[in-house]
Amino acid sequence: MTAPIPTALRAGVRRGVVEFLNSLRSPTDVGFWIVGAIVTVVVLWFLRTDRIAELDITTAQFIFPGLLAVQLLIAATWGVGVMISTEREDGTLLRAKALPHGTLTYATGITMRSLLESAVAVALVLVPSLFLVGGLLDRGPVALAAVGILVLGFVALFPIGLAVGALSRNPRAVSGWGLLVGAAVVFASGIFVPLITFPEWAQVIGQLLPLYWLGLLLRSVLLPENLHVVEIGESWRTLEAFGVLGAWAVVGILIAPPLLRRMARRESGTSLERARQKALQRV
C-alpha cells in the first residue's frame, strides 16, 4: 500500500506530462507557439541593427528580456486560465473530482503541464534569438541567473492563471478578454517602453504589477550593467524586485489551494449542463 498524497502527486505529474505530449500533437496548440515565436524572432531580426544611440545597444537587445517575460505571461497565466476554464467546461475537472484526491492530482497535472509549456515558450524565443541576434548574452555567466528569475516569475504568474480559471467557466471569455488585459498589463509594465517615460501615476500602477519586476530583474542580468540609468531611481533595485515578485508568489501559493477547493466544490453535472446550455444559446 502506498500513501495517498504522494500517490496523487505522482499521478498528477504523470497526468501533466501526458497532457503536454498530447498538446504537442495538437496543430492548434503547436501552431500558436510556432507562429508566436516566428513573429518574435522576425521582429528581433529587423531590430538587430537598429541602435539606441544614447544607450549604445541595439533595440533588439533592449527588448529581448521583456520578450521572455511576455512568453512566460502567455504560457503561465493566460494559457493556464484558458486551459482550466476549458477543462471545467468539458467535464475534465468533474471527472477528476470523482476520484480520491482527484482535485490534487488535477492541480498537480496543470502545474506540471504549465511548467513544461512555459519552458518551451521561453526556449522557442530564446534559442533562435541567440543565433540570429548579436549581443544578447554579452553578460556571459551572469545571464544564467535569468533561468532562476524565470522560475520565480513562473511561481508568481502561474497562480494568477489558476485564479482566473477557478473564477470563470467560460473559456472564450478568458481567452478573448485575457489577451486584451494581458496586452494592457504588458504595456503598463514598461516591458517595451521604459516605465520612466510614463507619467508618475502610471509608474505607480506599473510597479504594482509582477510583470514589471520580472522584466526589470531579467534586464538587470541580460543588459549591460550601466543600463540602470533608464530605470526608475536609476537603479536595478534588485532587492525590491525580488521582494515584490516574491510577495506575489507567496500570495499566489496561499490563495491557490482555497480557490481550487472552491472551484472543485462547485463542480457538478448540473452546473456543467447549465453552463453548456448558456454557451449554446450564445452561438
Binding site: 500500500m1 495517498p4 468539458d90 471527472r95 476520484l99 453535472g269
Partner: protein, 297 residues
C-alpha cells in the same frame, strides 16, 4: 438476505434552485448488491438526486447516508469506494484509452482495494482493440463503455450510472445491458442507475423507483409495479359497428356480463393486460394531474 445490508439511504431530500423546487421530499434506500433504477421523465430530478448521493452537491434539506457516511463530508477513503459514471461529456479527447484508465487506476492504489487489471477490464468492456486509440475517435457506445470502466476500475462498493445509454443504438444498448448484468453478478456492487427508458429499467433493475415532479411516485420490483396497475386491464370490443373500451379489475367477470347482455353478438373482443409501460405512463400522468390540481388551488 444480503439486500438487508443498507448501503445507500436518503430521506426527505429537497432541492431548490431559486424559485424552482427540483426535489420535494425524496426517500430512497438500496441494499448491498442491489440494482436500483431511478426512472422518470426528463427534468424529473434524477441527476440532481444522484449528484446529492455522489456528494457533488448539497441538498437544500434532508439526510443522506452512503456507505454509512454523509457524502458531503466523507473523506477520500469513502470516495475510493464510490464509482461514478457521469453523463457523457467530451473530456480527455486527446488521451489514449489505456493511458487514461491506467491513470485513474493509480488514484485508487493507496486504498487497499482489489483493483481491476487495466487490460482485463478493457477486455471486459470490449475495448481491448481500442486500447491505443485516442478517446475522441471512439463511437458513443465505446466511449460510454470506457466511462463505465473508469467508474469501476477501483472496484467500488457503490456505482452510480447517470443515463448510461442515452444516445445509444439498439446494439450498443444491448451490449451495455449485458455488461451491467455481468457487473451485478460478479461483484457485490450496489448499482443505482438513472434512465428515462422503462424497458431499460425493467431489464436491469431488481427494483424500480419512479421519480416525477421531485417525488418518488412508485417503488417496487418490475413485477410488483405491473401488478399495482392490474386494475386497469382493458377490454375492447365492437358492438353494432361501434368500438368500445373499458378498464376493469375483473376482466373475466366483466366479459361474462358483457356477453350475457349482448346475446346477439360482440365482435373483435380483446383483453389487454396492462404492461409496466402503461403503469409508468399512468403514474406519470396521474402525478401530472394532481400537480395541475395543486396549481389551481
Amino acid at each position: 438476505m444480503r439486500h438487508d445490508d443498507v448501503i445507500l439511504e436518503a430521506s426527505g431530500l429537497r432541492m431548490t434552485y431559486g424559485e424552482t423546487e427540483v426535489l420535494r421530499g425524496v426517500d430512497l434506500r438500496a441494499g448491498r448488491g442491489e440494482v436500483v433504477a431511478l426512472l422518470g421523465p426528463n427534468g424529473a430530478g434524477k441527476t440532481t438526486t444522484v449528484e446529492i448521493l455522489e456528494g457533488f452537491r448539497a441538498p437544500s434539506a434532508g439526510t443522506v447516508r452512503v456507505l454509512g457516511e454523509d457524502p458531503l463530508t466523507a473523506g477520500e477513503g469513502w470516495r475510493a469506494q464510490v464509482g461514478v459514471v457521469l453523463q457523457s461529456w467530451r473530456d480527455h479527447g486527446g488521451w489514449r484509452v489505456r493511458d487514461l484508465l491506467d491513470l485513474v487506476r493509480r488514484s485508487y492504489l493507496p486504498y487497499g482495494r482489489d483493483l481491476y487489471d487495466v487490460d482485463a477490464l478493457l477486455d471486459e468492456v470490449g475495448l481491448s482493440t481500442h486500447a491505443a486509440a485516442r478517446i475522441r475517435t471512439l463511437s458513443g457506445g465505446q466511449r460510454r463503455r470506457l466511462d463505465v470502466a473508469i467508474g469501476i476500475v477501483g472496484r467500488p462498493a457503490v456505482l452510480f450510472l447517470d443515463e448510461p445509454t442515452a444516445g445509444f443504438d439498439p446494439v450498443a444498448r444491448r451490449d451495455f445491458h449485458e455488461l451491467v448484468h455481468r457487473l451485478a453478478d460478479l461483484a457485490d456492487t450496489t448499482i443505482l442507475l438513472t434512465t428515462h427508458d422503462l424497458g431499460e429499467a425493467e431489464r436491469l433493475a431488481d427494483r424500480i423507483l419512479i421519480l416525477d415532479g421531485g417525488v418518488i411516485v412508485a417503488d417496487g420490483s418490475p413485477e410488483a409495479l405491473a401488478r399495482e396497475v392490474a386494475g386497469s386491464t382493458e377490454v375492447r370490443w365492437v358492438h353494432d359497428g361501434e368500438r368500445h373500451v373499458h378498464a376493469t379489475a375483473d376482466a373475466t367477470g366483466f366479459v361474462r356480463d358483457l356477453l350475457a347482455r349482448h346475446p346477439d353478438g360482440v365482435e373483435g373482443l380483446e383483453i389487454v393486460r396492462a404492461t409496466l409501460e402503461d403503469a409508468y405512463l399512468a403514474m406519470v400522468r396521474r402525478h401530472e394531474n394532481t400537480e395541475l390540481e395543486g396549481a389551481d388551488r
